[in-house]
Symmetry: C2
Subunit: 226 residues, 2 copies
DNA sequence: TCTTATATAATAGTATTACTATTATATTTG
DNA sequence: CAAATATAATAGTAATACTATTATATAAGA
């Protein structure tokens, strides 16, 4: 598996950049270092100027790759969900039981331990960014515009794949997408709250209690509406 | 009830402003018009300059009331959750059954029809803002700092009140806060998705399907862990 | 009542941010 | 090897977020 991962390249829709960051050293530097800086200082304080300083290129050169920092965040988002979809497909092939596949999917969403480095990208860090910053890429007045440009396609595709598993378990179930996004955004939120606002969540000393909670929730809802 | 609402003033922690906006006409103008502008153009494009223009006061005067626009958003957030807590208490007093009280609470969270104007504030609009912008007040690197200043106290208090109802229903239940925040943020998200990213949710033609979904989810989880 | 203190508002700035137009330097292709 | 093209660097600008200072109104005490 590690071998396959090492050779994997994730391809991103052409609408999400001006110049493909994978096509040059500068481009790859932009991606790699933006993850570091956003992780360090948060998306609001992240600027192309600061990024330019760390990679020792003028900010204008970064603008050749991305229209603005929101587009860069959307790119990272898209990359993350494409990677997650790949992981999902990889880990669920050859498993007949849709219940088992759903369990794997929820584990994938709720687990924080992503130790791989793929495509040069540190998965743990991009996961951490996603938890804290991803909502900002759709919670904007431009959402309809960038949606048309395909900004959320990987996310939709990932959600759709899990929804299909749910429908396999219970073809009568009415809320597959609702359930999946509730789990994804809920799990992200609980991780964030556990670290910063503990009174808004419940920290149990059971390992993977977030996984347990959402797995339970999912199966209860799916089987109840049968 | 309308009479009581008309006379109600919601009091906000002194840490969430520099000068109490309720203490002057300018202050009240700041609150009322900021809601309009944020609703119209989104929080990112909202500036004190623009607000100053519409209320015909220089932006520097607004800085006397709020440190920055994030503090203003936090104030609106806090106002909203204090109001929601008031509503919750009001609507659940004299109801013995904790199940019925929880139902009322979830209806309150998930319902979009808030037609009242209280304290001069248009509830429907502040609710709409909360759906799209509230996450931005905690998804920031300053979260720990502003948390210490009490920025999220009203939210925590609201969550805590509902958690207590859940514990009444099932004293063994392990995840009351997790469940409540999952419902609150999930319901907000589904409203947003229904409007902008329909493929990420399920739009049923049943009225109040979001309420139904989360009410079901809540009771299933609470009763299962008994 | 008048002076003084204090609250409040307006003026006039600055540093930073987000972005663009233009020029220079590589690299590729015929 | 020249021309075309891709890429990067320079040098800006308008807008944003904020502050220091000055002016004006209001309230309190003598």
């Amino acid at each position: 598996m590690k071998h396959i991962l090492a050779n994997l390249k994730i391809s991103i829709s052409k609408n999400l950049y001006l110049t493909d960051p994978n096509s040059s050293i500068l481009g790859r530097n932009i991606i790699l270092n933006s993850i570091e800086i956003i992780d360090e200082m948060g998306f609001e304080k992240f600027t192309f100027k600061k990024l330019g300083n760390t990679i020792e290129s003028p900010e204008a050169s970064i603008y050749r790759y991305f229209k603005n920092k929101n587009q860069l965040l959307t790119y990272l988002n898209s990359w993350y969900w494409s990677y997650m979809e790949y992981q999902l497909v990889f880990e669920t092939t050859n498993i007949d039981s849709p219940e088992k596949r759903l369990e794997k999917a929820i584990l994938l969403i709720t687990s924080n331990s992503k130790e791989y480095i793929i495509d040069g990208i540190n998965l743990a860090k991009i996961h951490k960014i996603l938890i804290a910053e991803s909502a900002k890429s759709y919670l904007t007045k431009d959402v309809d515009k960038i949606n048309k440009e395909g900004a959320f396609q990987s996310y939709k595709q990932f959600v759709s794949r899990i929804s299909e598993i749910i429908i396999e378990i219970n073809p009568q179930y009415l809320y597959p997408q609702m359930l999946v996004t509730t789990i994804i955004e809920g799990a992200h939120l609980q991780s964030f709250f556990a670290e910063h606002l503990p009174r808004l969540t419940n920290k149990l000393n059971t390992p993977n209690y977030i996984t347990t909670f959402y797995t339970n929730l999912a199966f209860l809802s799916i089987k109840d509406n049968k």
